[in-house]
């Protein structure tokens, strides 16, 4: 491709990125501060900080943020803890019919969320867990685990087991190999896996509402209620608040990966 051609493709890429990612955020940001904004006006007629102030001082929002953090952090942690042994077995060829088992892990992602939520709800009702935070975390885990296993398996296919063999021959036992060799080497992949699981969990609405029975209120649930409430300014402010934690998680991971120089070093 010629240099002008490359520049054209690059410009188109930036335009798409701007259109798909940045522009909607700007619009929501403006909406969060607008009281009177009618089509076809480019900017609102009146501005207000009332919704943002309400968001910061509202007890319901604070409670939803806390609930979201607890649920998503727990789901992410559980996903990582379960994904590590699963991905190791799948990636390092220690499992018979690994490809089939890997596909099995992905099954929840192909089932429509409504069907998945209803099915899970039945199971949780029978287990007398419906309406609890534990039920919501379990439901989120069903959604996050496939992605966690998928990402970690893909990363660990490049993992060089020779590091562990080297450590074993040098006298390291299983615990030391896990703590001083595997985890540090796989840390970049584990961090990406955790961030993804957290983000997937954070945005779950149906898998919160049904298993939680309306008693577990996370930010997406609150956001949906606000969207139906006829107050676009409040809904936009809440939408922005909902977008912040996943963005922070991704940024933290990216910064940490840069600091580690990952993932090229530890993985083959």
């Amino acid at each position: 491709m010629t240099a002008p051609g490359r520049r054209g493709v690059s410009a188109l890429g930036w335009l798409l990125l701007g259109g798909l990612a940045v522009l909607p955020l700007i619009v929501i940001g403006v909406q969060a501060l607008a009281t009177r904004w009618f089509f076809p006006d480019l900017v609102p007629q009146e501005w207000t900080f009332a919704s943002v102030r309400g968001l910061a001082s509202g007890g319901a929002t604070r409670s939803a943020v806390f609930e979201s953090l607890v649920v998503s952090l727990t789901a992410a942690l559980a996903s990582v803890l379960l994904a590590i042994p699963a991905a190791r077995s799948l990636a390092l060829g220690r499992l018979r019919h690994a490809r089939l088992v890997g596909l099995g892990f992905l099954l929840p992602t192909v089932i429509p969320p409504v069907a998945l939520a209803m099915g899970l709800n039945v199971v949780l009702l029978k287990a007398d867990l419906a309406g609890t935070r534990a039920a919501v975390i379990f439901a989120h885990l069903v959604a996050t685990l496939p992605y966690a296993v998928l990402v970690l398996t893909a990363a660990l296919t490049r993992y060089d087991v020779a590091y562990e063999r080297q450590a074993a021959v040098l006298g390291a036992g299983a615990g030391r190999i896990l703590g001083r060799v595997f985890l540090p080497l796989a840390l970049p992949a584990i961090m990406v896996c955790a961030a993804l699981a957290f983000t997937v969990s954070w945005s779950q609405y149906l898998l919160t509402l049904l298993p939680g029975g309306g008693r577990v209120i996370t930010l997406p649930v609150l956001l949906l209620v606000a969207s139906d409430g006829g107050n676009p300014t409040a809904a936009a402010a809440l939408a922005l608040a909902t977008a912040i934690p996943p963005a922070i998680a991704i940024l933290l991971v990216v910064r940490r990966l840069d600091a580690l120089g990952a993932p090229a070093r530890p993985l083959r």
């Binding site: 063999r165 040098l170 030391r176």
Partner: protein, 346 residues
Amino acid sequence: MSVPVEIVGVAHRYTPRGPVVIHDLSLEVRAGGLTTILGPSGSGKSTLLGLVAGIESPTAGDILFDGASIVAVPSATRGVALVLQQPHLFPYMSVGDNVTFGLAARGVRRATRTAEAERWLAAVGLDGMAGRRPRELSGGEQQRVALIRALATEPRVLLLDEPLASLDPQVRGALQTLLRELVTETGVTTLMVTHDLSEAMSMGERTALLLTGNLIADEVSEVLFNRPPNRDAAEFVGISTFITGEVVDGDLQTPAGPLAVDGLVANGRPALVAIRPEHVRLVDVDGPNVIAGHAGPSTFRGEYWDVQVETHLGALRARSQEPTHEGATCLVVLPGNRLFPIADAT
């Protein structure tokens, strides 16, 4: 403490129905000795090392250190250390922590480890580098760290799996010298895998040659190079001139006339003899063991010309200081003290 290593009738396959990669192999390494395991890719060299290291378990046979079987002993407590082709230094640790990784695994205190790291780093000319990260070192420096990381555990047996193969020739030569010095100084019994003939000859007091999982030869390195025991070994060490004939009065009777061969005794029986290529030369004067022929193409090899000569023994490759006109009559000498009898089969 160095120990003798005995590998007794070892066989190995990676999966129950998989191919046999090591066949009934027996080998002895004296305490403190350095034996190189030579062979092409896929010959089972690294597998053999993995069996001694405890990374794999043999499907048959036994491995003994100092007369005691170690097959059931876990890798971590076998008293072996392994250096691979790639240094595999832990990238998130300092160079010093890498050197003393094995000592930390054994519960050695931090202060002792720091002192040990400095001592070993100084021994290989890397003084003051304990605080650096592996990525800050060159390839040769990293491999030196990998080597002292292995030696710092004071292993009973040191296993080297092509540790110099990925280095450029200059660094490789320097590290060969360093490696020999360290092994001699520590007196550790060493098994070193290589596919490089010259490295095997320069490093090992003995060389074991493996082909397709079979031990073809186990000889003093110089003997393997100059007088390999069988045809397979001879071909691997670069010998291509083989002559068959019948032994009559101590000489080998050939279609080109009798050839005097040192050590040929079996009168009245067919024999196979061989000679290293560098000992087959063009000469100007006829004499004992000189064969006439017609020159074929000459190839310049830097230090000599490689001339193909058609003789009654077939095509021979002879060395000359000058090129020879194709088709010219020439004389080739096969010195009797360089010809040696050889077994046709392994």
